[in-house]
């Protein structure tokens, strides 16, 4: 060895994999100190015994889970006439087709790595094993089978993971293929898995038989799963052919809700005579006259007269509606007696509301008009909005063809969805307007918005529902026969809008002053500045808050039982346990209802997280 050298590497050290394995994991995460070891053991015992009693409760043979499976129809659509069930399936079918097409249009497909799948398998298998081992002794039926299944799943996952370690994080398997596999699996489950179903005969005897999960619905559900796959395939085929497919789909989604609710589910009895003698003429006259005005007002030259004329038009139209609303018959003994029937008033409003809508369009016309093409597009938008408004009037005024036993044609989960979607869709524009009003520089507008928000927020929703269901009918007695679901929708909408307004206002406040100045500096009008610059940024900033609000709105719909509507929770807690066969099943049904709520809110919060990631990308 040369002079002065202390050390020379003789064997070249190769890189080693980091220490891993269950023992290492436990040492690093559960037992890294004395205190952590004790804590882990104590918490582990608590969890084990908690889980054990929970599993025991769920698997107890005395649980009346059959009360839920036997009443699935009641939970979903309440008393919707069985003869018209095809309408329900058509409604679900519309949603399924749109889902499939949208999944293709927004390219949700991706790749999953083998590692992710094996991890899922391991988790699923281990859970099965744990559940089977923890279940109390008297529930041994099927335990061995469950342990075996768990061991097989977990073991295959582990083996696969070992075998594919090299390429474990390489995304390789298409999510579309996985989803297809999932659909086939679901279909197979529908046809094979059996659950106890309790039947009560006329003489009062009961019999519990084993039936497949979806007794009467397995065929429609299987068809719908197929429809989902087919519509996805169609979407993939046309997504590169049809330009603006996404925009079309957004429009269809927006239209689908009123179409399902008012046309498919409600089955209106439309008098085509009235349509051709009243609706079509109104559409043509108002549509053409306002359309021409919009085309002129939307011209590229500026002028304050446009705003003055539109504002005047709006004020006059609103006054016209308000002052003709109450036409009292002074000769009648009752002070609330009205000269005109509900249908008459609706008829008059059918002409007046379009005039208000036209004024709103005229106000925004200078901001969104411009070149000939832009103006024509704007007039087209106006005609579409007008057609929607007039057809809603006709559909709302028509009587229903359904033979209903109860008051409303929606109940159970379908009512919960109706209220939640209508509440969100309607309260959104109102809330945004209120938020803008509260941030406005005009003191009167600000005062009105603030008063509304503070008044509505400080009173519980139940109170508003109650007021809505009782007072609304007093105010509008005989004018418009607003049926109970619409009253609930109005109350929920007005309530939710106040909260939404505060959320949006928070977003508006988060926008730096420089954004307003930059928009001002290029000469944008107030409407342009709001729609193009501040609002999109504000809404994006408050997506988490908005999602939270939608979730709480979805759950708050359960309060409508206070005004006599049969929503999911009410049916689960009161209606079904009231059946002689299902007395004492209230806890089971509540758990089922909770699970249904959870599935939808969890799906929603997950997809909104996806949306946030998507929107966040590229801007930061």
């Amino acid at each position: 060895m040369a002079e002065g050298v202390v050390f020379v590497e003789t064997v070249e050290l190769a890189p080693e994999p980091p220490p891993s394995g269950p023992a290492t994991w436990i040492r690093e995460n559960l037992a890294y100190s004395v205190a952590s070891t004790i804590t882990s053991i104590v918490v582990g015992l608590v969890v084990i015994f908690g889980l054990r009693s929970l599993i025991a409760w769920f698997l107890n043979p005395f649980r009346k889970w059959s009360s839920a499976t036997a009443n699935a129809r009641l939970l979903m659509v309440q008393a919707y006439p069985e003869a018209q069930f095809s309408r329900v399936w058509v409604s679900v079918g519309i949603v399924v087709v749109l889902t499939g097409l949208s999944a293709a249009a927004w390219r949700v497909s991706g790749k999953v790595s083998v590692g992710q799948i094996t991890r899922a398998l391991l988790v699923a298998g281990s859970t099965a094993v744990v559940v089977a081992l923890l279940a109390p002794g008297e529930l041994t039926g099927g335990r061995g089978l469950l342990v075996l299944a768990g061991v097989i799943i977990a073991g295959s996952g582990y083996l696969w993971k070992r075998a594919r370690r090299a390429s474990i994080n390489e995304p390789a398997i298409s999510t579309v293929a996985l989803a297809g596999l999932g659909l086939i699996l679901i279909a197979a489950v529908l046809w094979t898995i059996k659950l106890p179903v309790q039947e009560v005969f006329a003489d009062g005897t009961k019999e519990v038989t084993s039936e497949v999960l979806a007794r009467t619905t397995k065929l429609p559900w299987t068809i719908l799963l197929g429809v989902l796959a087919v519509s996805y395939a169609i979407g993939v085929a046309v997504r590169d052919v049809i330009a603006g497919l996404r925009r079309i789909l957004v429009g269809l989604w927006v239209l689908s809700f009123p179409a399902i609710l008012m046309v498919v589910m409600r089955a209106p009895d439309i008098e085509w005579d009235t349509v051709f003698t009243v609706d079509v003429p109104i559409f043509l006259v108002v549509g053409v006259v306002v359309g021409v005005i919009l085309f002129v007002v939307g011209g590229p030259e500026t002028g304050e007269w446009k705003y003055i004329v539109s504002a005047l038009w709006l004020v006059l139209a609103i006054m016209w509606v308000l002052f003709s609303w109450y036409v009292f018959d002074t000769d009648s003994s009752s002070p609330l007696h009205l000269t005109s029937s509900g249908a008459d008033v609706l008829q008059r409003l059918e002409f007046k509301f379009p005039v208000i809508l036209g004024a709103l369009f005229a106000l925004a016309a200078p901001s969104f008009g411009g070149a000939r093409a832009a103006r024509l597009r704007y007039v087209g938008l106006w005609l579409a909005a007008l057609a929607l408004l007039i057809s809603s009037f006709r559909l709302g005024a028509a009587s229903s063809l359904l033979q209903l036993s109860g008051s409303a044609f929606v109940g159970g989960l379908s009512l919960t969805f109706t209220l939640a979607i209508a509440g969100v869709v309607l309260s959104f524009p109102l809330g945004v307007l209120l938020a803008l009003g509260r941030a406005s520089t005009m003191p009167i507008v600000r005062l009105i918005s603030m008063t509304y928000i503070e008044l509505v927020r400080s009173v519980p929703l139940i109170t508003w529902l109650y007021i809505g269901s009782n007072l609304l009918n007093l105010f509008l007695a005989g004018v418009v026969d607003i049926f109970s679901v619409v009253r609930a929708i109005i109350a929920i909408t007005l309530f939710s809008a106040a909260y939404l307004a505060e959320n949006v206002r928070g977003g508006l406040q988060s926008i730096p002053k420089g954004q307003y100045e930059a928009a001002d500096a290029v000469g944008m009008s107030v409407v342009q500045k709001t729609v193009l610059i501040t609002l999109p940024q504000a809404l994006k900033a408050v997506i988490p808050a908005l999602v939270g609000q939608v979730i709480s709105l979805f759950k708050d719909t359960s309060l409508v039982s206070i005004i006599g509507l049969f929503d999911l929770l009410y049916i689960a807690r009161t209606v079904i346990p009231g059946q002689s066969a299902n007395i004492g099943s209230i806890l089971e049904l509540t758990v089922v209802a909770a699970a249904i709520y959870w599935v939808f809110t969890f799906t929603f919060s997950r997809s909104s997280m996806r949306l946030e990631r998507r929107l966040g990308l590229g801007t930061r």
Binding site: P300, T302, G303, E304, S367, F368, G369, G370, A371, A373, A374, P512, G514, Q515, E517, A518, D520, A521, V522, G523, M524, S525, Q528, L532, I533, P536, Q537, K540, G618, T619, R620
Partner: protein, 245 residues
Amino acid sequence: MSDQAIIDCRGVKKWFGDFQALRGIDLEVSKGEVVVIIGPSGSGKSTFIRCINRLEVHQEGQIFVGGIELTNDVRNIEAIRRDVGMVFQSFNLFPHLTIMQNITLAPIWVKKQSKSEAEAYGRELLERVGIPEQSDKYPGQLSGGQQQRVAIARALAMKPQIMLFDEPTSALDPEMVKEVLDAMKELAKEGMTMIVVTHEMGFAREVADRVLFFDYGRLVEAGTPEHFFTNPQHDRTKLFLSQIL
């Protein structure tokens, strides 16, 4: 007002509460002139140029831009803002829009140009400021210097008569200052009327037709760059220049 003056300010005064930010500014700028305003912070130079497109409202005096007086009349304000482009210290690009959308937004919605026409001119402008390849990115993906050049392109997209620059390089890293100043020099060469608030003395010396020195809301001294940097007259100007040069 002389025939040539495109901007004419007479006795402009402005208060923020009790504090008087502008104590009576008189200024005429003729077409094609490049005016650089320097001065210590708080001297009212930013406030003054923000009055020219009415981001700030002056309380006394008169401002004429292209012969139109700035009053509360919305039509006048919108007409003047279409003719006056502005570049801010903090860029103020719209973060939710791509670079091309940032540039074409105002031409499409305010000037009512067709989308294709606006985009063609937008591409030309991006070429001019030297970043044609960035048009589909978002502002957050660009460096400060690139963002400021986009901001210049955005202002130019409206084909303004006058450009206002409010400390356009103050928020930039030193190595990015040059690329922005180069874009501005290019603009000055093409004959754009510009008012520039800046601390870049090199730029003032090279490009300015006239340099103004503001202090305590007053216009203290005005002159050609040579006069200004070699032979300042006012004591306050001398002190300021001695501190920064």
